[in-house]
Symmetry: C2
Amino acid sequence: MKATATANSNIALVKYWGKRNNELNLPNNSSISMSLNKLYTTTTVEFSNGIKTDSLIIDGKKASKEEIERTSKHLSIVRKLARKEIFARVESKNNFPKSAGLASSASGFAALSLAATKALDLHLDRKELSILARQGSGSASRSIEGGFVEWVKGSLEDGSDSYAKAIAPNDHWPELTMIVAVLTKKEKKTGSNAGMEKTPATSPFYKCWLDTVEQDLEKTKKAILEKNFSLLGKTAEMNCLKMHSTMLTTEPHLIYWEPETIKVIKEVLSLREQGTECYFTIDAGPQVKVLCMKKNSEKIKKYFSAMKEVKEIFVCTAGEGAKLTEKDLF
Amino acid sequence: MKATATANSNIALVKYWGKRNNELNLPNNSSISMSLNKLYTTTTVEFSNGIKTDSLIIDGKKASKEEIERTSKHLSIVRKLARKEIFARVESKNNFPKSAGLASSASGFAALSLAATKALDLHLDRKELSILARQGSGSASRSIEGGFVEWVKGSLEDGSDSYAKAIAPNDHWPELTMIVAVLTKKEKKTGSNAGMEKTPATSPFYKCWLDTVEQDLEKTKKAILEKNFSLLGKTAEMNCLKMHSTMLTTEPHLIYWEPETIKVIKEVLSLREQGTECYFTIDAGPQVKVLCMKKNSEKIKKYFSAMKEVKEIFVCTAGEGAKLTEKDLF
């Protein structure tokens, strides 16, 4: 009744923002992401009859009450699937800062879903795992498969058609590189869930977001399949700015950017003007992710590493899907 | 044939962004502004038969080719009105940084319009002056009248119904204060005219901007007339964020914010959370303007003056309209 899984984080190229069902994490729009091979969570789950409550350690520390509740709620879905009333000890490790806009909940809930179902001897396929992971954190649905995936929004009320499907595997486009510049390790003030609940109701721009996201999805799929870097980068950058515009115009305003974010955005634009093709994308947090081709990645990494605003840097390519591992954390 | 005028800058509470006619500066939407009593331009114009070209000095320096051309084009409208082929020597002085998002073109073209028409002995009324000033710079139409004005967009092709009308005079609401925090004196990379030409054609959010600006105008007029500070501040802040969202989603992106802008925005939000009611507004530039009531202005001024990011600070109330003065600059 013990298992360990690792899952990569993923960064959306076409973002997810706003839900049609908060309980089931059903999104208002489909999204597309790339799995990141250098950012991952490892999670060990051990169910045992001897304990009366779930426990959770993250990165060596006892988790907060909210984190434990959210994990416990997720484990309850797994318990229900297995028809067992049994509690678990969970330990989780991230190799990158959590709750800072680097999708730690995506890799976290993907790894938890795989480890917990394995520990209770449930054999879910990738689609079923994606649906399960989605209920823990929407973006976690995209961290079950590797490479490039589309989380199709679905239309059914129970969410059984809202899961992530592969667009292309992780070895499809090895030149495509995402450089993650960590600017602050502070946890963000408003989490993504709390934030995205308010946008559809209050942003006068949310309608324009929804009206234009379908064409971003089409362009991005085409760009991935045809390995058209300019189309991919241009579409992802604009999609990111559109999402942040809906955030800025939310009441109260969601300003996930920090001064350093603007600084790095302008450096990306300036590098591009000087002929080094690269594009930025930013999630619900201050960190900037830079898309580039492998031939430019060393140069861009050096450039950003030299900035005092950049605290840590990860140079990623498309990673694998979530997988079981033998190395338990306890 | 010589006259001198001064005009205050103005800051829009409901912004102007995007034109239906670039030549005549006819806007896609009406806008509302407050005249700023501490930021002004003084301009002396002297027509004389002895010179063969217009000349322009701004802040003691020979103006750039583009600035001279733009001024000369404006003087040609005045020459046409006066039916005279005669050139002018123009000298202009700002008491604040120009081309940095502080509406120096608003006060500049308002002062120029008044001084030039007076020098040629044309007697234009406020409406005619506003229409003339508008052709030099859209926002200059709002610097002819003092206090609070609405620049009505109009619908006629020749622009004869597109001018600024008074909503309330400058002594209507003496408690209302606008603190202008100058964060950088650098001239901006993309001027407002070049920027706003691109937004209507490329921003997928521009439609949502136009769809919601009418209600901002109604709320703002009501807030001014009833002296409802919360309604005014809230509406102005959201309107500003909406405009910047259309800029961010313009192709190529218009990012007028600097790192310091985000820093000051967050300080305003934090002051408000702590109970000091204040709101920000930002134009096509990095500077942040803070709306507050007089009772809090000293505290807020001190607070921002202490920030290393703030280079200069102006505490303004609603100013007067453009006026002639006896003190010539040469």
